[in-house]
Every structure is written in C-alpha cells, then in structure tokens.
C-alpha cells in the first residue's frame, strides 16, 4: 500500500513545482525589470532634459523627449562664462590624480607590512587605522583648517591632496591588507629562504601580483575624491581652486539656472566616475565589499 501510494503524490507536486518556478520566474524578472526602470529614471531625466532647448524645460514638457535636440545646455555647462564647469573639471583632475596615486602607494606598503611583514602589535595598529575609516570628518575639520592656516601650508589644491591622502590611509591600507592576506605564505617563505630583505621581497614578490588591488584601491579613491564635497567646501576658500562638485553646486544651487544647463552640468561632472564604473565595474564591486571590512 505504502509502496504504491508513495509515487502518486510525487508527480503532481513536481508538476506544480515546475509551474510554480515558471510563475516565480515571470514575477522575478518583472520585479527586476521594474527596479531597472526606477533606478534609471533619474538618468533618463538627466539625459533628456540636458538635450532640450530652454523653452522646452517648462512643466508641460517635463517628461517628454525633446522636440528639437540641441547641445545648448551642454555648451553652456561646459565653458560659458556664467555656468562653465571646465575650470573646475581641470581642478578636480589636478586633485584626484596625485591624491589617488599617493594613497595607493601608501596603502600598498602599509597593507604589505600589516599582513606579510608583521611586527608585534600589527593588529592593534590596524585597528587604530580602521577607526579612521568611520569618523565623521566634521570632527577634524575645524582644527584641520586652522592647522593649514597656522603652518602656511600651500593654499588651494595642495591642501586638498594632502587631506585626501591622509584620510585615505585607512581604506587603502584595508584594501591592500585584505588582498595580500590571500597571497600564499609559501611565496613569502621562498623569498625568506633567499634571505631577501623587506624591500626586495615587496618589490620582486608582492608588487608584481598587486595589480588587482591597485585597481580596486584606485577606483575607490578616484571615486570618493572626485565626488567629495565636504573637504572641498571647508578647505578651499578661493573659487578659482574649487573642484567640480563645489562648482556644480554653485551653478545649480541658483534657482534661475535653466534646467537643461543644470542637467548637462550634473552629467558632465559625473562622466569621469561613470566611465571608470562602466570600464572597471567588477573591480568597483570588489572595492565596495572591501569597504564592509570583509574583503
């Protein structure tokens, strides 16, 4: 009885399951697509509005495609006297390139020592660094600006580079330390057998396999320095040294700036990080996961 009864309920269940998975899949893809639409909605608005002429930015055309596509907004946001972002873009590049390069080198050396050339108390030093990852920068901003003034540190972009390098130490050290922890210790032992010193071990064993970590750390630093507003607004007093976030906020913060110019400006200011994201997306995700301390 039991032996014949057993298979009977199985079939319908299996059939039901299959139907349920088909239905589940339809629901699944529908939901995923819905979220795609929601997430891309602001991007649609940015792009469409940026190509409209001024007359088409009024409420009655709010969501429609431009009747006449024009580059007016882009041109004005790029280099007009009133709204042009070009000088600020240049400042941002002058800031972000040296700051990213120096941060990555520091992080790599720190990460190497803290995972592969450890000294007593290395974990304590690492924890000591990690706290710096989470502090609200407001808590150091007043003394930092005061210190820059008191020491006559070169004004403008050098101050920002310095600040981003210092406060980038925790995250870059974390990224490299977690990455180097995955290098097998046997490699290190081989170098040790050769009686290679620390610098030579770093140079000939560790550095050659570090490229992925450099990419992750560089993307992280590039993105967060490019997008930074807080340090810039506190440290930079002279508008001619503003990075693009401050310039953009200044252009768009005024309510009289036409929407097409605002949207084009926002896109221009975001293009460098968007390009990095599109080209190196998978490293971007790794950097994010490293930021959660569990790399």
């Amino acid at each position: 009885m039991t032996s014949t009864a057993a298979p009977i309920p199985v079939a319908p269940v299996a059939k039901m399951r299959r139907r349920r998975t088909v239905e589940a899949n339809v629901v699944r893809y529908a939901l995923l697509a819905l979220f795609v639409v929601i997430i891309l909605l602001p991007l649609y608005v940015l792009i469409v509005t940026s190509f409209k002429g001024v007359t088409e930015t009024d409420p009655s055309h709010a969501w429609s495609l431009p009747h006449v596509w024009t580059l007016d907004g882009w041109r004005q946001a790029w280099n007009s006297d009133q709204y042009g972002l070009l000088p600020y873009l240049k400042n941002s590049f002058k800031l972000v390139i040296p700051a990213t390069v120096i941060s990555c080198m520091l992080g790599s050396l720190n990460g190497f020592v803290l995972s592969k050339w450890r000294f007593p108390g290395a974990d304590i030093v690492f924890t000591f660094f990690l706290f710096g990852l989470f502090i609200p920068y407001q808590a150091i901003m007043i003394p930092l600006t005061q210190l820059f003034g008191d020491t006559h540190f070169p004004e403008g972009i050098p101050r920002l580079v310095f600040a981003h390098v210092i406060y980038g130490i925790p995250i870059t050290t974390l990224i490299f330390r977690n990455y180097y922890a995955t290098i097998p210790n046997e490699l290190m032992e081989a170098a040790r057998m050769d009686r290679a010193g620390m610098i030579r071990t770093y140079w000939s064993v560790v550095l050659p396999v570090s490229i992925p970590a450099f990419i992750v750390a560089a993307i992280w630093q590039f993105t967060s320095i490019w997008n930074d507003f807080l340090f810039a607004v506190f440290i930079i007093t002279d508008p001619s040294s503003w990075p693009v976030t401050v310039g953009l906020n200044n252009t768009t913060g005024s309510l009289v700036t036409p929407y097409n110019v605002q949207m084009a400006a926002a896109l221009i200011a975001s293009l460098p990080t968007l390009i990095v994201y599109i080209v190196l997306g998978r490293y971007f995700i790794r950097g994010l996961l490293a930021g959660s301390l569990k790399g």
């Binding site: 699944r28 893809y29 939901l31 979220f35 795609v36 929601i38 997430i39 891309l40 909605l41 602001p42 991007l43 608005v45 940015l46 409420p59 720190n110 020592v113 803290l114 450890r118 000294f119 007593p120 974990d123 924890t127 000591f128 990690l130 706290f131 989470f134 502090i135 609200p136 407001q138 808590a139 901003m141 007043i142 003394p143 005061q146 130490i169 620390m198 610098i199 997008n227 930074d228 507003f229 807080l230 506190f234 976030t245 768009t252 913060g253 929407y259 605002q262 949207m263 926002a266 200011a269 975001s270 990080t273 994201y277 997306g281 971007f284 994010l288 996961l289 959660s292 301390l293 569990k294």
Partner: protein, 299 residues
C-alpha cells in the same frame, strides 16, 4: 617576534602612516573637543576655557532639538527612512538575483551605478523629481501623478512639514540600495549549498529553508549593513546641501555645523556639534570594530 632585525624595518615603513593617523585623526579629534570647550565664538580665534557653554547653548537652541523642524528630529527621521528603505530594497534585489538569473551582470551593473555619482550631481536631478509645486506647474514626480490621474499623491516632498526628511531619504536610498544588494548577494552565495540541500532532504519547504538556514547565516551581513548605513546617515551633508540648501526645514547637524562655521563664525558651537556627531557614530562603530577584529582573530 624577538628578532627585531626581522620586524624592525616593517614597523619603520608603517611608522609615517602611524604618525599621520595619530596626529590627523586622533590628535585633531582631541583638538576639536578642546575648541568645543573654548570661548571661540567669533571670527577671531580664541582658546580660553569656557566649559560646556557651547553645548548648553546648543541644548537651548530652538533649531537643534527636539520639536518639529529641528536638527535632531530631522536626522532621526532621515536615518530611519533611509536604513529601512535601503535594507528592504537591497535584500529584495539580492534575493531576486541570488539563484542566478539570465543577465545577472546587467542587473547588478544597473543597480550599482548610482554609487558612482556624487550626491551633489544626484541632488540636481532629485530636486527636479521632487519639485514640491502642484502637478500643473511643477516638474518631476508630481507631474507624473497628475498625468496618471492620481494627483492626490502629489505632495510637498522634502518640504513637507512633518515627514519631509523621509522624502529626503529617497535619493540616498536610490544611491545605496545597490551597495546593500552587493553585500547581501555575497552573503547569500556564501551559504553552503549542502546546508540548503540537507534541509530540503529533511522535507523543509523552500520558505523554511530561507527562514531557518539562509537568513540566520546573513546576520553578520545585516550587522555590517546597519553599521555602514548608520554612519553614512548620521553625517549626511552633501545630499542635504544639494537639495535643500541651508533651509531650516531640511537642516541636519552636519549642515548646521557648516552654517555655524561659515555664516555665524561660531566655532565652539560648530565644534560641539562635530563632537556630538563623533560620539554618536563611535557608539555604533567601536563595538563593531572590536567584534570584527575578534572574529577575524578567531577565524
């Protein structure tokens, strides 16, 4: 351990960073606390001891706490809305993706892309989307509601008197849901397949597999997510400046500090806000750091 010639060079190599972090993180934090306890209340620096005067001023400041349209209320509403919204969407997206779907890479890229955009740039388009004017002379979402015949949904968004800060959290949820999705996706994939299989063999329904096997495994991820979102939220600054400017109705502690320094030149009071922010975030972070370092050591 005893061979200093072995580990000495390592310590030497890291020591510049140790000194920089000691001075610029810990030293400046101490300095900031000192400013908050001083009488530096004008553009002219002063370092005379003034005790808790700045904190007392803050406590009696009608913009600070705790009625409607105050900093503390704003940041609480913002934080609650932001954390709940981001966690729910993040977990949902990870759950939808976790068993593998066609085009997973595409979905992941789309959900994560807002992370690459600054809050200042995102603020430009979200200010347009959340234009508080009525649908017929507005932009953004109110227009859509109007056209779809659900005009009653049109609202004041971030300028709403009581819950405006919940609307202010929308761009932040948009920006960070993908990040939380990535965290959970890594978490889901970290649950050993044998465990799920074993539960299924025991006749557990798929619902029970998630309830009793998968979700308990995700607790550390949830903890990380809460800590990350919590500390981002408490110090939120750029987003508010980009959307609400300096208006009182959207003001948060970080924005108020900025106004105190740049407009009012009240450094002690600004430093007091910064110190309170640091304390709030430390209560969140320090136990988490200890827990993380300990579990790493045990692993």
């Amino acid at each position: 351990m005893t061979n200093i010639r072995r580990w000495g060079p390592g310590l030497l190599l890291v020591s510049p960073s140790i000194v920089l972090v000691a001075v610029f993180v810990y030293g400046l934090i101490g300095w900031n606390v000192k400013v908050s306890l001083s009488d530096w209340r004008t553009a002219v620096p002063s370092s005379n001891w003034a005790g808790l005067g700045a904190y007392r001023d803050l406590k009696s400041d009608p913009a600070w706490c705790c009625g409607p349209a105050t900093n503390v209320r704003h940041i609480i509403i913002f934080t609650v809305a932001f954390i709940i919204g981001t966690l729910l969407i993040g977990v949902t997206l990870a759950f939808l993706l976790e068993k593998g779907v066609r085009g997973e890479g595409f979905f992941r890229s789309v959900y994560l892309f807002p992370m690459a955009i600054s809050f200042i740039a995102a603020g430009v388009v979200w200010r347009w989307l959340m234009n508080p004017a009525p649908g017929d002379r507005s932009t953004g979402l109110n227009v859509i509601f109007d056209k779809l015949g659900v005009g009653f949904l049109a609202n004041q968004w971030y300028l709403g008197v009581n819950w405006g800060m919940a609307a202010m959290a929308l761009p932040a949820i948009w920006a960070l849901s993908g990040y939380i999705m990535a965290l959970y996706l890594a978490g889901f994939r970290g649950v050993p397949e044998e465990l799920r299989e074993a539960a299924r063999m025991d006749g557990a329904s798929e619902y029970r597999v998630y309830r009793h096997v998968v979700f308990p495994h995700l607790r550390p991820v949830t903890l990380s997510a809460l800590i990350i979102l919590g500390h981002i939220s408490l110090k939120v600054f750029d987003l508010i400046v980009a959307i609400g400017g300096k208006q009182l109705i959207t003001q948060t502690p970080a924005v108020y500090m900025w106004i105190l320094i740049y407009d009012a030149r009240d450094y002690a009071k600004g430093a007091a806000i910064a110190t309170l922010l640091l304390i709030a975030i430390s209560i969140l972070i320090i136990p988490y750091l200890i827990y993380t370092v300990r579990s790493e050591r045990n692993a």
